[in-house]
């Protein structure tokens, strides 16, 4: 037999090396800016976040989810038992039999990992990740046999020293990957960093079924955006390190699919290169479309743009959050991208293409098009809309948004007014007092202009009494609902799809059946993924007698129209246009009409060359289907004023 001390020594060495590596890694994260977290509460919450929240995402791929449970669970259990059995030499069947079982579970999981790696999909990284299943198998088999040999479960002298020697090599290899590699940046790093990332996540509200999508407020007297990796908060750096390179983000990213130079997985990996220092030469996944791998270089204190990533990469993002939604490690790509954009805009003054002009217009005229601020009501010159300034009080404040300047969006607005009037809703608008919500400015990185606009709007809103704000623009909806709170504006905000659906449910409007052909529904990112509203639009379509033919990517997996995050303004060229790809999705289900719930989506999808399905906003579909006579005549004045309104 081999010396008794060899195996314990190996395990202890591996554990020691892991500890040193882990400390080193922690120091790398600590180079980031401070952000308070609750240490104990976070660590206590971690197992639940892992078992429930993370697996909720992983479980979208059932096989992979079970594989991971078996492999990871088996490994953690084995490690916990290896220490008493092999380090302290406790020789009890109560320990060895569970240890044997744990290694068998891990082995089973590893077999599935191995099988997936034989023909890996393009989104998976290769390189060291190809080695991982073999390491997992080696670890589990070696420890199984070694435990068996060392135990009293077999007849005396069954083991041969040659066999033991071979197994020890296996153990060494397994320990090297699973413990040493975990601390020193190998593929297993994800387990260690991922666990801590879950504990100290920057948006803890996301766990337990919650939602947290608003950008974090920026102190305009402090640092403006992220220039170098060490400008990120420490727990953002930790988050980047948790990436398993599964490429789920890459698979859903519309910019990547359009051949624009963005790949969210590569972006996160480049951030890891930045925080650890070095180059991306070892990256073994898909590149940024059209860019070679191996050029990126950086360290925590070197500027990111034009070292690690190019500015075009950052400006390609539509902030659609598809990547965040899909990421099993709950990494926040959009936060990171907007942080870096903020530096480019506020410090360097380098917002590409129309960006500078749009921001300039917002500063000078409170709207992105640079239109006369006093012409906000021109679209409704014939509608006699009640103004908040006159009424002071209304049940519903109708937030018109900048759609008022665009002829196509005006049709949506007019349709919505028709519905409001048909349902006798007590509403009013702000008119010329309304300003842009600040959404675009903020996604373009200009938090200064965003805050000016937000503060102005909040001051205006505080003058009036209303129960809720309703808007047809999901971007304004999101900003009013989720981002004004940090500046003192707390409102009950509703998107028009939710509001109209409520009117239907309350019987305040009656609808005819829709007479067109096949209809599909496109979920706007800022309504769906940002605010979780998938149901009301569909209920509303059902109320019109429409059976929605769902596109392959719908609901939380909806593909962006390409219009978010200022992407049409910064306009980074790719091989395809995102809007074309989205209309192709609709063509695949043979839709004749694409129902949308956003003026920006309308503009993007209608920009696709004909022949293509018709693009109609929910408000337009409902307005067309209104049964006016059946309106309960609760107030006598409702009838005639309606008759005038029909355009």
């Amino acid at each position: 037999m081999l010396p008794e001390w060899l195996l314990p020594a190996l395990v202890i060495t591996a554990l020691g090396l892991f500890a040193i590596g882990a400390l080193r890694r922690i120091l790398l994260w600590r180079a980031g800016r401070p952000e308070p977290v609750s240490l104990i509460a976070g660590l206590m919450a971690m197992p639940r976040r892992y078992l429930v929240d993370l697996h909720h995402v992983v479980a979208r791929d059932k096989v992979m989810s079970n594989t991971h449970v078996a492999t990871a669970g088996g490994f953690v259990l084995s490690m916990l038992l290896i220490i008493p059995v092999h380090v302290f030499g406790l020789d009890s069947r109560w320990l060895t039999i569970p240890l044997l079982a744990a290694t068998v579970i891990m082995f089973t999981g590893a077999v599935f990992v191995y099988r997936r790696r034989r023909n890996p999909p393009a989104r998976l990284s290769k390189g060291p990740w190809m080695r991982l299943p073999k390491s997992l198998l080696t670890f589990s088999v070696s420890f199984f046999l070694l435990t068996l040999l060392a135990s009293d479960l077999l007849p005396e002298n069954f083991g041969h020293w040659v066999l033991t020697g071979v197994l020890l090599i296996g153990v060494t290899l397994g320990l090297a990957e699973l413990l040493f590699g975990m601390g020193w940046g190998g593929p297993m790093k994800h387990a260690f960093a991922g666990a801590l990332h879950l504990a100290f996540h920057r948006r803890p509200e996301r766990f337990g079924g919650g939602r947290s999508t608003g950008l974090k407020p920026v102190d305009l007297d402090g640092m403006l955006g992220v220039a170098k990796p060490s400008d990120f908060k420490w727990n953002q750096l930790l988050g980047f390190d948790a990436c398993v390179q599964c490429g789920r983000c890459e698979a859903v990213c519309p910019a990547f699919a359009a051949g624009q130079p963005l790949n969210p997985k590569k972006l996160i990996q480049d951030m890891v290169v930045g925080l650890a220092g070095g180059s991306d030469a070892h990256y073994a996944g898909s590149p940024y479309p059209g860019r070679d791998v191996g050029q990126a270089q950086g360290n925590p204190h070197q500027p990111i743009v034009d070292g690690l990533v190019s500015a075009e990469t950052l400006w390609s993002c539509t902030t659609c959050r598809a990547c965040v939604e899909e990421c099993p490690m709950m990494i926040e790509h959009v936060d990171a991208i907007v942080d870096m954009r903020r530096h480019l805009t506020l410090e360097r003054g380098e917002t590409p293409n129309k960006g500078a002009e749009v921001l300039d217009n917002l500063i000078a005229t409170d709207n992105p098009g640079g239109y006369e601020p006093n012409s906000r009501m021109n679209w409704a010159a014939d509608l006699a809309l009640p103004l908040m300034a006159d009424k002071q009080e209304a049940e519903v404040l109708f937030w018109v948004s900048d759609g008022c300047f665009d002829m196509r969006s005006q049709r949506i607005l007019r349709a919505f007014v028709k519905i409001l009037k048909a349902a006798n809703v007590d509403f009013a608008v702000l008119g010329n007092e309304e300003c842009d919500s600040g959404d675009v400015a903020r996604r373009l990185g200009d938090d200064a202009t965003f805050q000016t606009l937000a503060r102005h709007n909040i001051a205006t809103l505080s003058k009036y009494r209303f129960t809720r704000i309703v808007t047809t623009d999901p971007h304004a909806f999101h900003v009013l609902k989720n981002e004004y709170g940090d500046f003192g504006g707390h409102y009950d905000v509703m998107h028009h799809s939710t509001f109209i659906n409520e009117l239907v449910e309350q019987g305040r409007i009656n609808l005819d059946r829709f007479k067109g052909g096949t209809v599909t529904y496109h979920d706007p990112c800022y309504l769906g993924r940002y605010n979780g509203e998938y149901e009301s639009p569909r209920a509303l379509l059902a109320a019109l007698g429409i059976q929605v033919s769902e596109m392959e990517r719908s609901g939380y997996r909806s593909r962006c129209c390409g219009g978010g995050g200022g992407a049409p303004i910064t306009d980074i060229p790719g091989e395809h246009r995102i809007a074309d790809m989205r209309v192709d999705d609709a063509r695949k289900v043979e839709a004749e009409t694409i129902a949308v719930a956003c003026q920006q989506c309308t503009a993007m999808l209608e920009g696709v060359v004909e022949p293509r399905p018709e693009i109609r906003d929910l408000a337009e579909l409902v307005a067309d289907g209104l049964v006016v006579d059946a309106t309960p005549a609760s107030t006598a004045t409702a009838g005639p004023s309606l008759a005038e309104e029909v355009h």
């Binding site: 506020l346 410090e347 003054g349 917002t351 960006g355 005229t365 601020p373």
Partner: protein, 261 residues
Amino acid sequence: MWPDSDLKVASLVSNGQHPKSGRSRRASQDARAVELALKMTGRAARVIHVGTGHRDSGLGQYLGMGLPEITLLNADENADAVPVLVDHLKGTDLDIVLTGIHAEQGEASGMVPYLLAEHLGWPLVSHIADIQKVEGGKAEVLQALPRGQRRLLRVPLPFIATVDNAAAEARQYAFGAARRGKLVDEVIDAPVDQARLEWESHPAKPRPKRLHVAKAKSAADRFKAATAKPQGQGGSVLRDGTDLEKATAIMDLLISEGVVR
């Protein structure tokens, strides 16, 4: 070439006004003058403002273009900017002074550069699009003419130039840079503009524009008619002859028009 660290270039800037909202901003031509100065001398570009400016006005936007500082010659609203500037410029060793063609608010007569040139005895070049190089005490200046034409002039230093809309557009201003830039106050003696005190001002009434009906046969003619700047009638073009002859011709014209008596 650029930036040339030996060159001393200053831009005079005024507070602009947005045509639609009336909000204070950097004036578009002055900002182009700053852009040109930044191109020529980098962060050594000097920028001067006469008035009661503060950083929330257009001045902040000039600073946001990356200027370390703006020299602020403190003068109240009734002051006459010309003597203030003349005093200040006399005490400097500038090579080139750039201005816009006229301000976006206030008097906006466009006279400041001319009056400065007269008092300082420097040549003035109007409507420039670019300064290409400075060599041996002379600058090669590209002057913008109607319909996209350009004329290359060689001008001895020091001189004043007004920057046309044909010059390179001003770069984006950045909030961070504006926050860092300084307004360096200089207390000066600012005489009151006596003449202006007596004036009354009213908001301008938009006057209806007379449409020019072009009788054109082809699309090309219509395009020409639509884009042409009105050209003076009569006159003559002197290409040959000595400088003296050309100057005499101009002087004769000025006398006959009653500009010079």
